[in-house]
């Protein structure tokens, strides 16, 4: 079967550092952490935890009143990121010039409309209201983001959202990549968004005992992937989008190509609902390399899943050691969740953007706060500070989710 090349022609972000991609990446290179203490005062007890917010983002200012009023925060973050990516790709909101009937949206979110549902429950049980907003269903539904994007941009092709925990947007991107590669469609807007800061959601995660500790004074360094003293993950909100486009289609319309998606591998651990499993991750990594038609020595950088959980980090490093063998010692690896946190369904997309920016800028961001590497995590070249090295040709980004779903994406620099 013909394999068409898949270009990335636009990227957009709502991050804790704002929406400017160059600034976001520069701050990652400098090891700047966006983790702060979040405090919620809801009953039955206040909750304080390290968290990554996007404080500079207001839906009304970015999206305007009608859209802001009929969307939950997760969709607002997604729409803003998607519109930014669309603009960077040189595409207008509505167009008579192109036939967009087969252009698609492939989105990812783990939790969907947490805030509207929580508000509804509070209305019923705290405020004794008899009814909730009639728009609650369409505001909260997981597919709200792709629905709005399809409407706003006039896209008539696939319109879908993947909900696969931490791998949601990696899978959304990968499935979009496959469709374009086999010639089904010339363009798919893809990415992910998440807003997990509803009180009930955060209490549920707290109960799972996987979150990092940290008070006001220590919040910034709370997420410490691969560290001997790591103690868990830091949740966050965010939105990230990429425009994936058939290479020839991009060239024909004069689009600037930012990078290329060249491989996608998936697997299921079929092992445990929370604990990751080495052989499952190995299969996904090998599948991605095979799909990209690359050997281990062809990979220049790994953006790790690296959530800083006690169990997860060593499993991922062991999987990398097994796949990359002798090459592993010199394999540059960083866990950027140390800085942008873990925005669940948006993580894959944010890390895809980080990987593409690394290749574009020929610079690798570090794992922040990594001073004392856990002996169970040695065996790769952990980046403890930013590194500029040329040439950086390829990058691989891991997303390993609760439930055992694994997704690995492979990117190549545009000049390649």
């Amino acid at each position: 079967m013909e394999r068409r090349r898949v270009a990335i022609t636009g990227m957009g972000l709502v991050s804790p550092f704002g929406g400017n991609l160059a600034d976001f990446f520069q701050r990652l290179l400098q090891g700047e952490s966006a983790v702060r203490q979040l405090r919620l005062e809801d009953p039955p007890r206040p909750l304080a935890l390290p968290f990554v917010s996007c404080p500079g983002f207001t839906a009304e200012a970015t999206l305007g009143k009608p859209l802001a009023g009929i969307t939950d925060r997760f969709a607002q973050l997604g729409l803003a990121a998607a519109f930014a990516a669309w603009e960077e790709a040189g595409l207008s909101r509505q167009s008579d010039r192109e036939n967009r009937e087969d252009w698609g949206v492939s989105w990812g979110t783990a939790l969907g409309g947490t805030i509207v549902y929580e508000r509804a429950y509070q209305d019923f049980w705290l405020r004794a209201r008899d009814r909730i907003s009639p728009l609650s269903v369409i505001i909260g539904m997981n597919n709200a983001t792709n629905a709005h994007l399809s409407i706003q941009l006039g896209l008539g092709g696939i319109s879908t959202t993947a909900t696969v925990a931490c791998a949601s947007s990696a899978i959304a991107i990968g499935e979009a990549f496959r469709r374009i590669r086999r010639g089904e469609t010339p363009l798919i807007l893809t990415g992910g968004s998440e807003a997990p800061q509803a009180y009930g959601v955060l209490r549920a995660w707290e109960a799972l005992r996987v979150l990092a500790d940290g008070d006001e004074t220590r919040a910034a360094t709370a997420c410490r992937p691969f560290s001997r003293d790591r103690d868990g993950l830091v949740l966050g909100e965010g939105g990230a989008a990429l425009v994936l486009e058939d290479w020839e289609h991009a060239l024909a319309r004069g689009a600037r190509i930012q990078g290329e998606v060249i491989g996608y591998g998936t697997s299921s651990d079929h092992f445990h609902l929370v604990r990751p499993e080495v052989s499952g991750q190995v299969r996904a990594l090998r599948a991605a390399l095979a799909d990209a038609r690359l050997e281990p020595e062809d990979i220049d950088y790994i953006n790790a899943h690296g959530t800083a959980t006690l169990e997860g980090d060593p499993v991922e490093i062991e999987a990398l050691r097994q796949v990359f063998g002798d090459r592993a010692q010199g394999l540059a690896v960083s866990g950027t969740k140390s800085m942008h946190g873990h925005p669940l369904g948006a993580a894959g997309a944010i890390e895809a953007i980080v990987s593409v920016l690394a290749l574009r800028e020929q610079a690798l961001p570090p794992t922040a706060h990594l001073v004392d590497i856990d002996p169970d995590c040695v065996g790769v070249d952990h980046l403890t500070s930013a590194r500029r090295q040329a040439p950086l040709r390829t990058a691989l980004s891991n997303s390993f989710a609760f439930g055992g779903s694994n997704a690995v994406l492979v990117f190549r620099a545009a000049a390649g």
Binding site: G64, K65, P66, G69, I70, R131, S133, P134, L135, I138
Partner: protein, 79 residues
């Protein structure tokens, strides 16, 4: 608060529409008020005046029809 005031406040808040654009003859669709927003507007009306609306009410098409409907329901409630 009059029905027209409630409508103006709602449309200003949700759509940023200025007061001068909200006149009786204006079709709701022309203001960008689709069926979902009509639902929300009726919901706000129910909340504010404590009136429960029947599901079988005919959906108003203009600002004027909306005002008439709201005024009628408020009169019926007072009886």
């Amino acid at each position: 608060m009059d029905s027209i005031d409630l409508i103006r406040e709602f449309l200003q808040d949700r759509l940023g529409i200025g007061e001068d654009k909200i006149v009786p003859e204006t079709p709701l669709a022309a203001l960008g008020v689709d069926s979902l927003l009509v639902l929300e507007m009726m919901f706000a009306f129910e909340d504010h005046f404590g009136i429960k609306l029947s599901k079988n009410l005919k959906t108003p098409q203009t600002i004027g029809q909306m005002v008439s409907l709201m005024d009628r329901l408020r009169r019926e409630q007072l009886r």
